[in-house]
């Protein structure tokens, strides 16, 4: 599904529908919608072969705004619906749009199993650390102390880290981006789309009504220097003002540490170089949190393996090869049969 299928240049508008977008003004979802439309336009994607499947929640209204095939399903179940779509037609380019409540709470089981099966699709998990459509309850990714309508004294439940959940389920592609990384997001989405198998993308998304500015410190233009790191495969893990800071493995441990190039004898050669095929490094990068570490963005892990659909197709082909006569009449006569010659005289 990488090959451009349309001769003329497509634009964002080609992927927009006539429906009024019903997200709150200023919602981070608008930027994500634009980035996805731009990604598909840039790639010359065939909108008739593109499918968006979603669950329930603010993010899950997404399919209505994409001029492609779309199915807005039920809470948490989009990965299961998408699995059925891919089993019926592996040729479709399937995108799952979900949120932190939809994907990690009510639908956590389906998310985990779609990933471990390695269904060939993109999963975009919009993480705003809150339930929006139900009016602001704490979500499974709300950080400790989040005050919400159901946690007036602050959330006491430890949050899930979406990328660590995905890696734990065996994801072969994980990436993180944010609504405020408008320029970077299409590159992450393009990488996700070109990955064969499940590509899991966490998109930090600001809920302007119920959890405003929760990511402000480390996303977009207001981000503080040194609070974020954009990873690039094959490049040293540098970040901060003048890209002076870097990550290395703390000698004698399995831990990362932040160092400054030029201080204490540290040179660029001492730094970790990002290797997107290293799942251990991906886990370490995904877990990084402020204030002592930057938040990692970009493709943290990308190491494809056989997709579920390919394995199913191979299995069916094998059964077919071992079945000389695939007519049902032949099937019904397999095994023990006997002839009754008719009523006794």
């Amino acid at each position: 599904m990488n090959a451009p299928t349309s001769p003329q240049k497509l634009t964002v508008k080609d992927f927009a529908t006539d429906q009024d977008v019903r997200w709150c003004p200023g919602c981070g979802d608008y930027a994500i919608l634009k980035a996805v439309q731009k990604t598909l336009a840039d790639l010359g994607a065939d909108k008739d072969k593109t499918v968006f499947v979603s669950g329930i929640g603010c993010s899950s209204r997404f399919p209505y705004y994409m001029e492609t095939y779309g199915f807005h399903t039920i809470h948490g179940r989009a990965p299961a619906i998408a699995t059925g779509v891919k089993l019926a037609n592996p040729e479709l380019d399937v995108w799952i749009v979900t949120g932190d409540g939809d994907g990690l709470s009510i639908g956590g089981n389906h998310l985990m199993h779609a990933i471990r099966r390695n269904i060939d699709c993109q999963i975009l998990l919009f993480n705003n650390e809150i339930y929006g459509l139900t009016k602001g309850q704490a979500s499974p990714t709300s950080h400790l102390g989040t005050r919400s309508s159901t946690t007036p004294n602050g959330s006491t439940d430890a949050p899930l880290e979406p990328i660590k959940v995905a890696l734990g389920a065996g994801a072969r592609f994980v990436a993180r981006t944010a609504d405020k990384w408008i320029k970077e997001m299409p590159d992450v989405l393009k990488a996700a789309r070109s990955h064969r198998g499940t590509a899991f993308v966490e998109i930090l998304q600001n809920c302007i009504v119920y959890n405003d500015q929760v990511f402000a410190g480390f996303t977009g233009k207001e981000a503080q220097e040194g609070s974020f790191l954009h990873v690039e495969h094959g490049k040293p893990l540098l970040f901060g003002a003048g890209r002076a800071k870097g990550l290395r493995v703390k000698p004698g441990t399995f831990k990362l540490e932040v160092v400054t190039v030029g201080e204490g004898g540290v040179t660029e050669a001492d730094l970790l170089v990002h290797d997107k095929t290293d799942p251990v490094l991906a886990g370490l990068l995904a877990a990084m949190r402020g204030p002592h570490f930057p938040i990692a963005f970009g493709v943290l892990y990308d190491d494809p393996a056989e997709s579920h659909e390919a394995a199913v197709a191979a299995h069916k082909a094998d059964q077919k090869a071992r079945t000389p006569d695939v007519s049902i009449n032949a099937l019904l006569k397999r095994g023990r049969t006997w002839m009754v010659e008719g009523p006794k005289a």
């Binding site: 389906h110 006997w338 002839m339």
Partner: protein, 625 residues
């Protein structure tokens, strides 16, 4: 493997006691190979030309502690020279492999029936495990039956002494020894079983194969040479007058699997079957997983909800989505079924019912999910409900469910039950090529396409495969505009869409066969109205009563929702309508609600099928009153 053989009917034995039909029951530990023994006896009886019906009766526990009453597994077969409708009210012959089997199964034997007991397994330890404080073979507590004590264990060890097997392996042949004895009792040919044993074991475990054949032969020889009871020389059960043709045996699980594969061929459409393991529904998945070559893709989902959603996703993508479960799983699928109703997608849902509520009794049969099928979802959410009446009818109803689902773009639930799923019967193999083809027309014309525009006859919307050029559209579970499918909260539109969903399901009533009367007059004093697996006992009870001159009719419903259009008039022709069902009166309530008549319920919820005698007694009491 394709073994076809021609029968020579009427191969009786001069000294044998003729029997029109007989019921044999095997009972022993879960690990004794009871189901295998019953399966082999079924094949031998089918090959002898009998009509038959079988009923495996096993515990939910896989291998309960040896010798306990709750670990007893049983298999019952009714076979004969006449039409066989049920697995039999009570057994003529019981083979009890241990005290626990005797204790739990003796009461299922006819008064005066024969009980063969393996005395080699009646030591103090075995008796204690079964909860006996003394040996029941030593007193007169079994006086209602003819007890035939045989040390099957010892005789089996003697028979296989040359095999080189250790004692515990050698003892595992005792089911074949007993089968050999029962083959002699009924004049059954043991060659096919011997052949089957050799085929199964000879390559990998030749000693096991030889020992089992030796045990089978020894049991048979024992019957020939020893007089089990004074003056008893075995029974002769004649072949039945079955319609000519090629036969096989079929269970309900087989019927669904083969029927679904046939439907995929008849519709020329790929099928995706998604299911989550649950007793007693799993055999359908086990069978279909082998049929990948026939256009069926199977998927073992992570849970029941996912199974329904995978099927729905597949249907939306242009395959026939099918999911399957039992009551607890169907409950979990409820929200997803609502989505399929709302999105107007074809979907087939098979519910192999079991005794509830909650986990209930997983291996025991019941018909208590009818309300769940017809009404068990949030919102006004109608779908179509069908019910096969026998194992082979599952084949027919699987095809019918697919036909309705794709024609009306609607979910169809098929209500089977634990009895139908596991019971088997002989089946005259149909010619699938002669069945009506069910071509599916996917819309490809872009001009004028509206996702919720409807066929004026069926009220179905068009089925469009994602990937079709120019037809990209969005649908979902939020109420949709009656034409464009766009989100709509418009009050009038919701009324229109609710009415469409009901009218569409109601129209299916015009497209199903009119209700017929299975037996008996079209008008009269009493009609029995049944559905599903009660077909066999009701049919036999009614034919017995009618043979005695009792005026009673049998109406059996295979379409539960919508009901056949002529059913109301038909029921009005009877003074009294009695509805036997294995629940507390669900069909009866549905019929009362539909026709506002005082129909009467005959309820049984023991986890066991109705006995013929129970239905006969109920009819008599109503007619005498």
């Amino acid at each position: 493997m394709n073994e076809t053989q021609t029968l020579s009917p009427g191969a009786g034995h001069a000294e044998r006691t003729p029997l029109e039909s007989a019921v044999v029951r095997f009972a022993g530990d879960s690990g004794d190979g009871i189901q295998l023994t019953g399966g082999q006896f079924t094949v031998a009886s089918a090959l002898a030309g009998n009509d038959l019906a079988t009923f495996p009766d096993f515990p939910a526990e896989i291998r309960a502690p040896v010798g306990t009453t709750y670990g007893v597994s049983a298999f019952q077969i009714n076979f004969g020279g006449r039409q066989i409708n049920t697995s039999g009210d009570a057994a003529d012959v019981l083979v009890a492999f241990n005290p626990a089997a005797l204790k739990t199964n003796a009461k299922l034997v006819k008064r005066g029936g024969m009980i063969i007991v393996d005395t080699g397994n009646f030591g103090p330890r075995e008796l204690k495990k079964a909860g006996y404080d003394h040996n029941p073979l030593d007193d007169d507590s079994l006086g209602d039956w003819k007890i035939v004590p045989v040390d099957i264990s010892k005789l089996t060890l003697e028979a296989v002494a040359d095999s080189g097997l250790g004692k515990s392996d050698a003892l595992r042949c005792k089911n074949l020894w007993a089968l050999g004895l029962v083959y002699w009792m009924f004049g059954r040919d043991r060659a096919p079983t011997a052949q089957w044993i050799l085929q199964k074991f000879e390559k990998k475990e030749p000693a096991v194969a030889a020992a089992n054949v030796a045990a089978l032969n020894a049991g048979h020889a024992f019957g020939e040479t020893m007089e089990l009871l004074q003056g008893f020389h075995g029974y002769a059960v004649p072949a039945a007058d079955l319609p000519p043709g090629l036969y096989r045996t079929i269970t309900g699980g087989d019927g669904f699997a083969l029927g679904l594969a046939a439907a995929a061929q008849l519709t020329e459409t790929e099928m995706v079957f998604a299911s989550y393991p649950i007793t007693p529904a799993s055999p359908i998945l086990h069978h279909l997983v082998k049929l990948g070559a026939y256009g069926v893709t199977t998927h073992q989902a992570e849970d029941e909800i996912a199974a329904a959603c995978v099927a729905i996703g597949a249907s939306w993508a242009g395959a026939i989505g099918v999911t399957s479960s039992s009551g607890p799983g169907i409950a979990l699928k409820g929200e997803a079924l609502g989505l399929a109703v709302a999105a107007e997608l074809p979907l087939v849902v098979i519910n192999t019912q079991r005794a509830g509520p909650s986990t209930g009794m997983p291996t025991k049969t019941e018909q208590s999910d009818l309300f769940q099928a017809v009404w068990g979802r949030n919102g006004d959410t109608p779908l179509v409900v069908l019910a096969p009446q026998s194992p082979s009818d599952c084949f027919t109803m699987a095809i019918e469910a697919v036909r309705i689902a794709v024609k009306y773009m609607v979910p169809v639930m098929v209500l089977s039950d634990g009895y139908i799923a596991n019971a088997s019967e002989p089946w005259l193999i149909p010619d699938v090529d002669s069945l009506p083809h069910l071509p599916v027309a996917f819309r490809t014309e872009a001009e004028g396409y509206q996702p919720f525009a409807r066929d004026p006859q069926t009220l179905a919307r068009a089925w469009v495969k994602p990937g079709t050029p120019g037809l990209a559209h969005r649908i979902g579970g939020i109420e949709r505009d009656a034409l464009t499918g766009d989100i709509s909260y418009d009050p009038a539109n919701h009324q229109v869409m609710t009415d469409y969903r009901h009218a569409k399901v109601a129209r299916v009533a015009r497209d199903i066969p009119p209700q017929t009367i299975d037996q008996g007059p079209e008008r009269g004093r009493l009609a029995l109205v049944g559905w599903g697996s009660t077909y066999g006992p009701i049919r036999r009870a009614v034919s017995n009563l009618r043979a005695e001159g009792v005026e009673v009719s049998h109406i059996h419903l295979r379409n539960l929702w919508p009901l056949p259009e002529n059913l109301g008039d038909m029921l009005a022709g009877f003074d009294h309508v009695l509805v036997p069902e294995m629940n507390v009166g669900q069909l009866c309530t549905l019929l009362r609600a539909t026709y506002a008549k005082p129909f009467e319920s005959l309820s049984k919820v023991t986890g066991q099928p109705f006995k013929i005698a129970e239905i006969e007694a109920a009819v008599r009491s109503r007619l005498e009153a």
